[in-house]
Each structure stands twice: as C-alpha cells, then as structure tokens.
C-alpha cells in the first residue's frame, strides 16, 4: 500500500483488462465526504467517477482533443473536452446547443458540487457490464 501522489484523485480499470491491475484506486484526500476528504472533492464523487470506469463508462468527451470521439453512449451530448471547476451553463461545443456539454455528468471532470447525474444509457451500459464482464461481483 502507498500514498497516491502527485495530486491524482484516482483511477480505475475498464472491464477486460489484466486481473493483476483490476480495480479502483482513490486518493484518501478525495474519498468520501468527511475526515480526510478535501474540498472541492469531498462529496464522494471520485468513487462514483472511477467506479463508472470500472463498469465500462468513458469520459463524456471521449478523450479526444476535438469533436471526433464518442463515449459510446447515445444520450450524452458530444463535447470537445473536459470541463473543470463549476462551469456556467450552457457551455456549448461541438454544435451541442442549446444545452451544451453535460458537465454535470459524473463522467466529466468538474468539481463534486457540480456533478450529479448519470444518463439512462450510461446506467444501461453499467448494467450490461454487471451482467457480463463484471458478473462475478453478483
């Protein structure tokens, strides 16, 4: 066991990767809502985000530096890149108006206070992972 250094909040592994590195890792300073948790990462959303990866969710901007990628979920608007902090609504990119980037989604990079939702298709994708690659959990 060691401290997660360098200011990193956490990371995970998608289904199907090597068993030796499978799992979710979260910085104790960004975990939970009390104790060692530090603002603005003190509402437990680091775990929500990383477990989303563990259940096969991608970042909503699809980790591309433009509008070319897809997070493989139909009901998250295409967007150009990550959002940070607590953005003002709407933040329009990739012709995704009028509502713009879904920066309140758990799979963006905003502060915990600014994120509060998965979409129905993201939930379906996670359920599919639970029924298949992660079926060993149940």
């Amino acid at each position: 066991m060691r401290t997660l250094g360098g200011g990193l909040l956490g990371y995970a592994q998608f289904p199907g990767g090597p068993p030796a590195t499978d799992g979710v890792v979260i910085n104790y300073r960004a975990f939970g809502t009390t104790g060692t948790a530090q603002a603005p990462f003190d509402k437990g959303r680091t775990a929500t985000h990383e477990i989303g990866h563990y259940f096969n969710l991608r970042h909503i901007w699809a980790d591309t530096p433009d509008c070319s990628g897809s997070d493989m979920v139909a009901d998250t608007p295409n967007c150009a890149g990550p959002n940070y902090g607590t953005p003002s609504w709407p933040h329009i990119t990739c012709n995704n108006g009028p509502n713009g980037d879904m920066f309140m989604n758990y799979m963006d990079y905003t502060d915990h206070a600014a994120m509060f939702m998965f979409t129905a298709q993201q939930v379906l994708r996670m359920r599919t992972a639970l029924d298949a690659a992660r079926s060993g959990l149940g």
Partner: protein, 111 residues
C-alpha cells in the same frame, strides 16, 4: 562538483509532476511527486528520466491511469531536453532546484 552530482541524482531519481497552478512567464513548474501537490481533476503530466538517455512522459489515459509515452532526453546548450517519440513538443529544463524544475515546451526546430 558534488552539488552538480546531487542535482543530477535528484533529477534522475524523481517523478516530476506539472503543477500548472505555479506556471509563470518563465515556464511550466514541475515538482517532485513526493511534494504536497494540490488535488486536481485537470490531468498533470509527469515525466521520469533515466541516466541512459531514456525518458518516460506519463499522461492520463481514458480510465485516469497514467499511460507511458516513450521519449528520449539529451543535453543541448547545457539544458536537458526531453523529446517524446510521439512528435509532441519537446520539454527543455531551463532551471532546477532540489524539488522544482522550470520547463519550457518547444516545437521541433525551436532552439
């Protein structure tokens, strides 16, 4: 000479992390991973240097784990310059103290 040796040992024995909050007109600030670096969702690029000219640039991947990008380093006009094999801009270390580096990104062909 001992000071130079210690400086080099620190350079090679450390994972250097971009602390963008401390960037200035001089360049980008990198600090040792062991320092108390603020939490950030914005990814922090990192690098490691080996004495044999190998460098590793680490960038966050799609599951937030760091992904290694191969690179090489060499000395140029007294500075250490890291050249990623991916064609991304080189990183020139223009100043060094025991736990901090100031780094300038430069496009191929820049001096």
């Amino acid at each position: 000479m001992a000071g130079k040796d210690a400086e080099q040992a620190q350079l090679f024995g450390t994972t250097w992390v971009h602390v963008f909050e401390e960037d200035s007109s001089q360049g980008a600030m990198y600090r040792s991973e062991e320092d108390d670096i603020p939490l950030s969702r914005r990814p922090r690029e990192r690098f490691q240097l080996e004495r044999n000219g190998v460098a590793r640039v680490l960038i966050p991947g799609p599951d937030d784990r760091y992904v290694e990008q191969p690179a090489k380093w060499s000395e140029d006009k007294g500075d250490v310059v890291i050249r990623p094999c991916t064609g991304k801009p080189s990183l020139r270390i223009i100043a060094q103290s025991p736990s901090r580096l100031i780094v300038r990104a430069q496009q191929p062909g820049d001096s």
